[in-house]
């Protein structure tokens, strides 16, 4: 294990810590999902199977630390696998594409999570899926871009 290979892990840990420190402090209605950013950034550097396992583990952690049903486990498993698979198909070092990637990942996660949890129903579910989830996904995408810009030296695993 070299320092170069450790840096993405460190970035991953930082994002997880941010998720459980900054997010409860901010407590916005459209809060930033640092856990999903960490999953997406890790998934594009793994094989789809490993990304699915990582998503499963992170979902299990998220569900254990929240009061809801285990909806995050399934959602993160699917999002992790899909992100890694998309990385294998189409991906480029483009910030706008990364933003769209974060946006789509977060929205997909919210859709699966809300449908699996079945806590919100009817018109509220529609509002949540079509208004609040896209807004949250947008905020998360912006935060993801910021993380990419700040942590680029840590995430860049290619030799200089």
């Amino acid at each position: 294990m070299t320092w170069r290979s450790l840096r993405p892990i460190l970035a991953f840990v930082i994002l997880v810590v941010l998720h459980y420190t900054l997010r409860p402090v901010l407590e916005w209605r459209t809060s930033i999902d640092f856990l999903l950013i960490a999953l997406l950034l890790a998934a594009v550097r793994m094989r789809p199977g490993a990304a699915a396992v990582l998503g499963f583990a992170m979902g299990l952690v998220a569900d254990s630390l929240s009061a809801g049903a285990f909806g995050a486990t399934l959602a993160m498993t699917i999002v992790g696998f899909a992100a890694s698979w998309l990385r294998a198909v189409v991906f480029a070092e483009n910030l706008v594409l990364h933003a769209a990637f974060f946006f789509a990942g977060k929205w997909l996660y919210d859709i699966i999570f809300l449908l699996v949890e079945r806590r919100v129903k009817g018109l509220d579910l529609v509002f949540q899926l079509l208004i609040w989830s896209p807004l949250t996904a947008m905020v998360t995408a912006l935060a993801g871009l910021l993380v990419l810009i700040i942590m680029r030296p840590m995430l860049d695993t290619q030799p200089a």
Partner: protein
């Protein structure tokens, strides 16, 4: 190569399917199995994250509490300011209530509104009018003394001139009845604008500083005994009359609630209402005057107090006693020796007299202090409001109080 890739792909898909299957299984777990599982995770591998989340929650709670504390502090400060204003208003209303309790009948309580407009600085608008029983030329009083006189009356409101008005005049006298005169606004500028003048006091009647001036009852408008002001200075006399500067008993800016005396109440006399104030001011003025005269006499070398004449000193002692230097310079003869012995005796007697005088002064000071304290206590007692009537309906204060019925 392609086969290895296909194998990897199948392996990934199988792994994904396994994870999805496990996720569905976990999701479908009943609560009795799910809760121990999550509890075990939280107490083992997730302890650091639980701790982070807990601390973040505490930080947010502290932040919110800080904001709430600031809001509470602001609110408390505001309430404290309001409490002070309410306390002041309560005190003012209690004093007005006390005055109403002493007047008992023949008055109309009213709120005094200051317009503040140019030309209206000498008048007050009263919230009571003819419907309430207010009549023109009725005296307007406050707990501390005379405010002015009603000039114009409408059905629901009236306008009164206050003592700062150039046309305001009231026949007045010293509280000890030693002098009479006419009180009017002092024609000064700046802070002197809010002072009064007592004019037309005969030259032979000198009034000491600190003497309370009250209405004399002459003239028919103002009843006798309403405090007007206190003498603070002597102004230049014109001809055979003296003029005095008075500090008013009531400052116009402090007047917010007043009582309008009805004609029959004014005719009935209100002297007992301010009797305690007048008596207290009179006794204080007497004490002050006595102290002043004693000090003046002492400064002039006269006996300290006429009540306690120095009986040891002959009437012409100052003439009979020779100067020490003169005694030393003169040749010794029997007469001069006798005179020197007599002078020594006189000096000793004078020392004793001074010692006795200082003891008397100390006694007088303590007596004055005690008198002042008792006067202050009496004032406080008088300032206390009369107890409210048992029924909550507003009693008619414009009619005379019926005489108390005698028990059968």
């Amino acid at each position: 190569m392609a086969r290895a890739s296909r194998l990897d792909s199948r392996f990934d898909t199988a792994l994904f399917a396994l994870c999805v299957f496990l996720a569905i299984v976990v999701h479908g777990l009943p609560d009795r199995l799910r809760d121990p599982l999550t509890g075990a995770l939280r107490q083992t591998v997730l302890v650091p994250l639980v701790s982070l989340q807990h601390n973040a929650g505490l930080s947010r709670a502290a932040w919110l509490a800080h904001g709430e504390n600031a809001r509470v502090q602001d609110s408390v400060s505001l309430q404290a300011m309001r409490a002070l204003a309410l306390e002041s208003e309560n005190d003012r209303l209690r004093r007005v209530l006390g005055l109403g309790g002493k007047l008992r009948w023949g008055f109309v309580p009213a709120e005094a509104l200051h317009s503040g407009a140019v030309g209206d600085e000498y008048t007050l608008t009263l919230s009571a009018g003819a419907n309430a029983g207010v009549r023109p030329f009725s005296p307007v009083v406050a707990p501390d003394g005379l405010v002015g006189m009603v000039q114009t009356v409408d059905p629901r409101m009236s306008i009164a001139i206050i003592w700062t008005h150039p046309d305001f005049r009231v026949s007045a006298r010293a509280a000890d009845r030693s002098a009479f005169g006419i009180v009017q606004a002092h024609e000064g500028s700046g802070s002197d604008r809010y002072l009064l003048e007592l004019r037309g006091v005969p030259v032979r009647n000198e009034i000491k500083k600190g003497t309370l001036i009250v209405s004399s009852g002459l003239g028919g408008v103002y009843p006798e005994g309403i405090p007007i002001g206190t003498v603070i200075d002597t102004l230049r006399s014109d001809g055979y009359a003296r003029k005095y500067l008075l500090r008013p008993a009531v400052m116009p800016s402090d007047v917010l609630s007043v009582m309008v005396l009805q004609p029959q109440r004014a005719a009935g006399g209100v002297a007992p209402v301010w009797a305690a104030t007048v008596a207290a001011a009179d006794s204080l003025a007497r004490l002050s005057a006595a102290a002043d005269s004693a000090a003046a006499a002492r400064a002039a070398g006269a006996p300290a107090h006429p009540i306690f004449p120095d009986s040891t000193r002959p009437p012409n002692a100052s003439v009979a006693a020779p100067a020490p230097n003169a005694a030393a310079a003169a040749p010794p003869n029997p007469d001069s020796v006798a005179a020197a012995a007599r002078a020594r005796e006189l000096r000793r007697a004078r020392r004793d007299s001074i010692r006795a005088d200082s003891a008397r002064r100390a006694n007088s000071d303590s007596a004055r202090q005690a008198r002042t304290d008792s006067t202050r206590r009496a004032l406080i007692e008088n300032a206390r409001p009369a107890p409210l009537p048992a029924d909550t309906t507003r009693r008619d204060t414009t009619r005379p109080v019926p005489p108390p019925s005698t028990p059968r």
